[in-house]
């Protein structure tokens, strides 16, 4: 459904150095550097997938989303979505997509949410019946019935985000782009938003492309992740597989009565050590957890012990590190 091949985009950015002299210099003779925002991206997305599109700040996530939603024209490459090239047939294409920018609102600030919804109904030429149905569904699943008559400026961040997401789904889009939808939300709102994304994905087969820095979003939602860094795709795959690959790593934390023993077990790496506490990362493909515990109990007078899988957060951090981005 989404086919992206060889997509590249670079930006010209004026070079600015600190200091008044160089500011003058660049005023008289501006110099530009070219930044390759994305470089030769290729991927396919099938209908009904939820893609976690992740990468550190400045990796090119937003640029990709902007190209895929028809806002930007790439320098090179092709992108076919639902049979359209997004930047060519803008008006017809955007009818089929919904976009939520976590940091930008699409609702009118000073009037009740419902007024914005009604305007969207006319902008997208949504038939009355479909509008009513969608509104009912959105109101009940997003729990926004109380909010519709409130001016947007009086809503909390979480309430606003729920209304934003509602606004982007009124016209039955087949694809939903979410750019950091949970940024700044409290725990309850985050869970509500996640739950809702899951629901519409299941019930309406909406394909979701989600960028986020919140790894819990990814864990809760994404069936597949695409990792991008410095404009290139570094990893594209199933989240479960990725987790398994990294889950040979377990973390053992032990509390013990004072000891200065030094450990040296193959397959075990020291994370941190204090007088009473030790954290180890264990590679279970080299040494079994039970063996490792055995060895430890011989060396230390154990008071407490816990074994954890590495959280997804850490997996991603180690991925960033691995790819040096």
């Amino acid at each position: 459904m989404i086919e992206v091949s060889g997509l590249s985009k670079s930006f010209k950015v004026a070079k600015r150095n600190p200091g008044i002299i160089s500011a003058l210099k660049s005023f008289v003779h501006p110099q530009f550097t070219t930044i390759q925002a994305i470089d030769d991206l290729t991927f396919n997305i099938k209908q009904g997938e939820i893609i976690g599109y992740i990468g550190p700040n400045g990796a090119g996530k937003s640029t990709t989303i902007k190209i895929m939603s028809g806002i930007l024209v790439p320098d090179k490459g092709n992108c076919k979505i639902l049979g359209y090239t997004p930047w060519k047939d803008r008006v017809n294409y955007v009818k089929n997509i919904g976009v939520v920018f976590g940091q930008r609102s699409q609702l009118f600030w000073d009037v009740p949410v419902m007024d914005s919804y009604n305007l969207l109904k006319d902008i997208y030429k949504i038939p009355e019946k479909m509008f009513e149905e969608n509104l009912d569904l959105l109101v009940s699943t997003l729990d926004i019935s109380q909010l519709l008559d409130t001016p947007v400026r009086q809503l909390s961040l979480g309430q606003k985000m729920r209304c934003e997401i509602g606004a982007s789904l009124l016209h039955n889009p087949k694809i939903l782009f979410l750019d950091e939808p949970t940024i700044g939300l409290d725990a309850v709102s985050k869970i509500a938003v996640r739950q809702f994304i899951k629901t519409i994905n299941k019930e309406k087969q909406v394909t979701v492309i989600l960028t986020t820095h919140d790894m819990q979003d990814i864990e809760a939602l994404a069936s597949r992740i695409i990792l991008i860094g410095k404009g290139k795709i570094l990893l594209d795959g199933n989240l479960a597989k990725l987790k398994n690959q990294f889950n040979s790593q377990k973390v053992i934390t032990i509390d013990y009565s004072e000891s200065n023993e030094v450990i040296n077990i193959p397959g075990v790496k020291l994370i941190s050590q204090s007088k009473e506490r030790l954290m180890l990362s264990v590679d279970t493909s080299i040494i079994k957890i039970s063996d490792c515990i055995n060895l430890l109990s011989k060396k230390y007078d154990l008071l407490d012990l816990s074994v954890d899988s590495r959280p997804i957060e850490e997996i991603i951090v180690s991925l960033y590190r691995e790819y040096q981005i």
């Binding site: 939603s69 955007v94 000073d110 007024d115």
Partner: protein
């Protein structure tokens, strides 16, 4: 068009929420230009006429350009303050909607407080017409209407060009005010009082002369030949919008290829 009225409904609703600020703005909009007219009036106390035009004739010229300007600012304000859309990223949102960008930019702002400026211009218009002995034929009435329409469209065109600049540079858009505010200030007098270059510029480049000066030659019976052409000039002035739309579309294309 229906969708534009929907936008208007929301925008008016929004403006009505800030009553005090609306009233103060409207009052300001009434008096600031009105003082300019007082200046013109005082000028005519000294001199019987300017370039062969009497006080009341100049008042008519003034009224028409100010009516057109206030209406165009009221509806076309979205273009006038467009650079804020680029800064805040609202324009991305516009590109995500399945409607024309021009329609949507019109829909971003509506400056109802310009009714103050409109009101003072209408008062001056009535004052001028009351004192002038114009034999109002149907043709003259229609011409007057077209003068205002032409003025509105030309000013909106200027705002559009100014807005297009924002695709290239965020700051320094003041330069377009030379033509919008400056143009209005120039065209509140009949162009005949200026030198040839300015006259030509405001006739053929930015055709504000076609809004009041040229058709008024017909309305005030200052010409005897080619009356028909003078009458038609407001319609020709409207054509100015065509290059403006072209330039705008070019700007949108540029934005899409560079981002911000």
């Amino acid at each position: 068009m229906k969708i534009y009225f929907k936008y208007l409904k929301i925008l008016i609703k929004k403006e009505l929420q800030y009553r005090t600020s609306f009233i103060l703005l409207a009052v300001g909009q009434f008096f600031v230009p009105f003082i300019i007219f007082v200046g013109i009036y005082l000028l005519f106390l000294r001199f019987p006429n300017v370039g062969g035009w009497s006080l009341y004739e100049v008042a008519l010229t003034y009224a028409i350009i100010h009516i057109a300007f206030s209406i165009s600012e009221c509806f076309g304000r979205g273009f006038d303050v467009f650079s804020t859309n680029i800064k805040s990223g609202t324009f991305d949102r516009i590109l995500l909607r399945p409607r024309s960008t021009i329609l949507q930019v019109f829909g971003t702002r509506f400056e109802f407080s310009r009714i103050g400026r409109l009101l003072q211009a209408i008062i001056v218009l009535i004052y001028a017409i009351y004192h002038l002995n114009i034999d109002w034929s149907i043709m003259k009435t229609i011409t007057l209407m077209f003068m205002i329409i032409s003025g509105i469209i030309i000013f909106i065109g200027i705002f559009m060009i100014g807005a297009t600049f924002a695709f290239w540079t965020i700051e320094g858009l003041e330069v377009i005010n030379i033509f919008s505010d400056g143009g209005r200030a120039m065209a509140q007098y009949p162009l005949t009082i200026y030198n040839k270059f300015i006259r030509k510029f405001f006739t053929f480049v930015i055709p504000l002369g076609t809004v009041n000066y040229l058709p008024l030659m017909f309305v005030l019976d200052k010409v005897n030949e080619n009356k028909f052409i003078y009458m038609l000039t407001p319609l020709l002035g409207i054509l100015f919008i065509i290059p403006c739309i072209t330039i705008w579309n070019h700007g949108v294309k540029h934005y899409k290829s560079t981002g911000s």
